[in-house]
Symmetry: C2
Subunit: 411 residues, 2 copies
């Protein structure tokens, strides 16, 4: 590389997004980049000229190892939506002026659907204006809802945490007996796509029956069918455990959490904030069936649990970071790195680049035939898809009993 590289992180954090950052940094240095800058809080921070020189943060190999094990976005993230080029040309002029000042050759953005929209617009603007800066997207989202890539970095680690935690919850749920039985509802992230919630099925194995039902947002939720099934299970089981997506909704599109009293909040991308699905279903079942119920929200923990990340995921995240730099260095722009599954047994994957115009804002959902007929469990195909992605561990570097992270003062 002749110029410099700048990298940003955007959207919700994951346990693997910093491994991609480490991959970008390492490959950029290896390919001769003079400087590798990190935007603080993504494109939003860049607009305020907030960035750092990554070489002052990743000073040796141990720092890089710690970075791979540090959850959340090391550089900070944002949910900033770039206006259309025709809507606000000034923003683009401002961004490109900063990039030129920093002698940027490659702009790498690690994020999900909304972030790929940013790559698309910036690369379009570069074409229009004849800029030689290259823009490459690096996939990241625990939601696994990006099109064209087999899966997204971040998903495997979240899935491993969800499978493990749901198994531990199932074990716990059988401990205390209640005459009426006990029903535990575990709420898992996922607004429209049920990839994360489906991973609850990973709890199932020789030593665990797994959750009893799994409800994804891909299929309308039916309160009565749900209640009847729980009631039937309680006739023969002391404990029923149900995994539900935060985004499940009834036929008419109303979110289950909206049935409870909840505050309406819409973020910059117009997404409703969902929460309280498990609580509402727990009180619904308690009211209808008069049994003991519990609601558990895996909440932030499921995206931040670096201590239980998947080795396959952390390595692939690192790999896509490197592949993004390589693609830019070789002249690509307006592309996203994708993961291609080459084989299931043994699991093997590789990277390719795809046109970001085909990816942006297109949500990949769980296929209908990866759910059973009743729509309340995932099939073996689903489990076979996700199982390879949770393999192997990345041992936390424990210092005085607690995992060590790469430190950046945060104020």
């Amino acid at each position: 590389m002749k110029g410099n590289v700048i990298v940003g992180q955007s959207g919700g954090p994951t346990a693997a997004i910093n491994s991609s950052l480490a991959g970008v940094y390492r490959t950029a240095i290896d390919r001769g980049a003079k400087k590798v800058y990190g935007m603080l809080n993504g494109i939003q921070g860049l607009l305020e000229e907030k960035y750092i020189d990554l070489s002052t943060h990743i000073t040796n190999e141990l720092d890089a190892e710690l970075l791979k094990r540090t959850p959340s976005a090391y550089l900070g993230s944002c949910r900033y939506k770039l206006p259309g080029i025709h809507e606000n040309k000034e923003v683009y002029e401002q961004i490109f002026a900063i990039l030129e000042k920093l002698d940027i050759e490659a702009f790498i953005y690690i994020g999900g659907n909304d972030s790929m929209d940013t790559i698309k617009k910036l690369s379009d603007y570069a074409i229009i204006t004849g800029s030689e800066i290259r823009f490459i997207g690096c996939p990241k989202t625990i939601d696994n809802d990006l099109a064209l890539t087999d899966h997204t970095p971040g998903y495997g680690s979240a899935a491993k945490y969800i499978g493990t935690s749901v198994k531990e919850v199932i074990r716990d749920s059988f401990c205390l007996r209640y005459d009426s039985g006990v029903v535990t509802i575990v709420e898992i992230m996922g607004r429209n796509a049920g990839w994360l919630t489906g991973a609850a099925a990973l709890a199932k194995g020789e030593d665990c029956a797994g959750p009893d039902m799994i409800y994804l947002p891909e299929i309308p939720f039916d309160f009565k069918k749900f209640k009847d099934k729980v009631a039937k299970l309680l006739e023969k089981k002391a404990s029923v455990v149900v995994a539900v997506s935060e985004g499940i909704h009834t036929e008419d599109g109303k979110y289950v959490c909206e049935y409870g009293a909840s505050i309406d909040f819409v973020d910059a991308f117009g997404h409703k904030q969902l929460s309280g699905t498990a609580s509402y279903l727990a009180s619904y079942i308690a009211g209808e069936l008069g049994c003991k119920t519990r609601a558990i929200e895996l909440s932030t923990l499921q995206r931040a649990a670096s201590h239980l990340s998947s080795r396959v995921d952390i390595l692939e995240a690192y790999q896509v970071g490197g592949a993004a730099v390589k693609a830019a260095d070789e002249g690509d722009s307006g592309k996203m790195v994708v993961l291609v599954r080459q084989s299931d047994d043994p699991y093997q994957s590789g990277t390719e680049v795809k046109d970001v115009h085909k990816i942006a804002n297109d949500e990949k959902l769980v296929p209908r035939n990866w759910l059973n007929k009743e729509g309340d469990y995932v099939t073996e195909e689903f489990i076979n898809y996700v199982r390879p992605l949770i393999q192997g561990d990345v041992s936390p570097i424990m210092v005085d009993g607690i995992p060590r992270h790469l430190y950046k003062p945060e104020v």
Copy 2:
């Protein structure tokens, strides 16, 4: 030993209670017990003559290792409160008839305060009736609120999980920026004692500033002081993270969670069910300060997370199980095994037995001088107390990406 041993588990589950069960089993076999029975669901199951022969479950050394890594109570638990001897002699006659039928020499009960009450009553009854059966209590509670013992098995693993998870949440909380700042409230178990919530301070270290405030139930909660402190912090920090005990209450004894709309539910021991403290505080702060807030309940996960247990804790749990059998074999009854801290640096502990009459129903709280003057953080003394208890790891035995547990069919 000449006769047989029976062991039960009682009260809330932990990540270490099965390690004590493994310790009881191993020592009983080593000391010549012919049979080691396990009561299913504690004394409540025993009354229905529900028990198993543990040798059909722990068939080899690998099973014992898996048992140490299996969360929740393997035998099932109960919250059954034995009536006073004068109130219902029939229950005692029934229990002793079953124990005699099984040729029981030692009765080991692994549990917390309520379980030690059971040991006390049964050993009293044995004295009254001249029975030679010995009753020994084995401490277990994530709450760490048992008197006379330096700490309780189960606490160290929960503390390690809490310190780790709070650190990951803090990292996550700095990721996305909000103009108004973001306040995260993490709710941790602990009705009257703040040992678990104080462990949030373990997140603090060279690489993490730790939570901003920690509120324990030992000190009355003051809404206004809390709000003012959060507001002041938000002037200079983008993210404020607060750890609160589920049992915090205002000066008048009203629980903070009762300020929100919550269902009143009282268990067999007359304990109110608490939940919703973080949610209520999050909506209170959002309303008062107009900032973004998040509520996270560590819920069941903090007591079930075997995948992140403390080696010191798991080994000590095993050790107290063994010590309980040894004490019974040597003629003790009406005693509880306690852990004695012999040295802090290097940390060393040993076991002793203490009269259970001095322990039962006496809750050990966090001393006032282990909290700062404002009552919103723990001191170095607290951290020095808990730090040795979270040291070392017990690697989960991973099978296909998920921790393996010892299997018992649960219906």
